[in-house]
Subunit: 255 residues, 2 copies
């Protein structure tokens, strides 16, 4: 398909590379900031620009910009007839398109993207939503060319998925940060934790999270919990997290 | 070496298998509850019992029992001359041995253990502490036969490591549980999150946790944070965790 990508950030870059690798024709990359645009367009061998001017031959426009930018973008963009536009945001519904566009939808990849990393899109779940049959058929067939895991999902349910992603990615990463800080207090490097991080993930694959839970909280081991809170006196935020997460584990398993 | 294992729980089982695989001679498995003892002794081809009676030929006794059981055990055990005893607890110091034993120390593997799983001990960090040169030399040479990552570490520092493990294993696992619950609200299965879990771990390997942080908290995206707190109204504990962890991320990155 002929595709225009709006946004040359982490999601726009990863998606345009994946679509390009799947044989699609990226016509143009559009980015307001222009920061990574020229470089990305160079890799993709396509035009680029900083205004939302969509070439008439476009079949799909993917807007991979942040939520606020998406609302401003929709005020100034003109979509050619027969072009379907989709956004990639976890928490934004279809209403952002509704005022002046005919065919629209959502193309949400459930992954955390970082510049400069390669992604195997085949295993990344893609969630599709559309305002009519035509948009749905275009977006779904496009999705199926890049991923083996394509699902129809409403905006309301997609918001929950995005929220789940915050817990298992953003919050997990902050637990890793906490582990690094505390390991530093023992004079050790972060990488001493890596076998434990790996086994924790492998266990959840095999057993699921409920059967994988271990540690002082699930045993309601008050002595160890008190000692740990003492050790954390160097950081009020780590202490607060320890208290709240431990309380939640106790409530779930022994409450 | 001739080794006696006290405790046939998760740590005792994993350690005795690893020591056995490394060519050591497990003389006896001792466990008060006797639950898994007979089966484990069968696998290891050794004696078993439920009283802490140590065969005179023992060179090392490893007490892999929980903290409270360790204190009671030390009241009734008799250690032969020339035998070194070590415990495997993250949060217990050397003082538990001090009253009536000559050679003692700590043999702490930094890992989460589950019954029935195989462990490649070569990559598991082992932390050693001892009360004198002889105990140190015995425990260190034993550790080096099972792991490539053997470190000397004081009780005080080991307590921090154990606390770090709570964050990166127990708390991470609870974030996975939260992700599963919330994914259920979207009508999706937990396994839709697995590519995201995997990438989150791979990123922290390559970039470290600070450079891997993404999501609404690090952007201090108040609108999304408020929406997420609304969506979490079905669970006060998830809501509390969201609020505290988000606050900690905001403090760290934008505070």
């Amino acid at each position: 398909m002929n595709i225009v990508i709006i946004g040359a950030g982490r999601v726009g870059t990863a998606l345009s590379m994946a679509l390009n690798n799947s044989g699609h024709n990226i016509l143009k990359v559009i980015s307001r900031s222009g920061k990574n645009t020229e470089r990305l367009a160079g890799i993709l061998g396509c035009e680029y620009g900083n205004k939302p001017v969509i070439p008439p031959a476009s079949e799909v426009v993917i807007a991979a910009v942040n939520d606020d930018a998406l609302y401003s973008l929709m005020k100034e963009i003109n979509i050619p007839d027969n072009t379907v536009i989709a956004h990639t945001a976890g928490s934004v519904g279809l209403e952002v398109f509704e005022r002046h566009i005919t065919d629209f939808g959502v193309f949400y990849p459930l992954q955390t993207f970082t510049m400069g990393r390669d992604y195997d899109f085949h295993s990344i779940p893609l969630f599709i939503e559309a305002n009519n049959k035509k948009s749905h058929s275009v977006l779904k067939s496009l999705a199926l060319t890049v991923s083996e895991k394509v699902f129809d999902l409403s905006s309301e349910k997609r918001r929950y998925l995005h929220l789940a992603a915050v817990f298992v990615c953003n919050f997990v990463n902050h637990m890793y940060y906490a582990g690094k800080e505390i390991t530093g207090m023992a004079g050790m490097e972060f990488n001493v934790l890596l076998p434990l991080l790996e086994e924790t993930l492998e266990k959840v694959y095999e057993l699921g999270p409920e059967r994988s839970q271990t540690g002082p909280a699930i045993r309601n081991d008050k002595k160890t919990i008190e000692k740990h809170l003492d050790l954390l006196s160097f950081s009020p935020d780590l202490q607060k997290m320890y208290r709240v997460i431990t309380g939640a584990i106790i409530n779930k398993y022994t409450g």
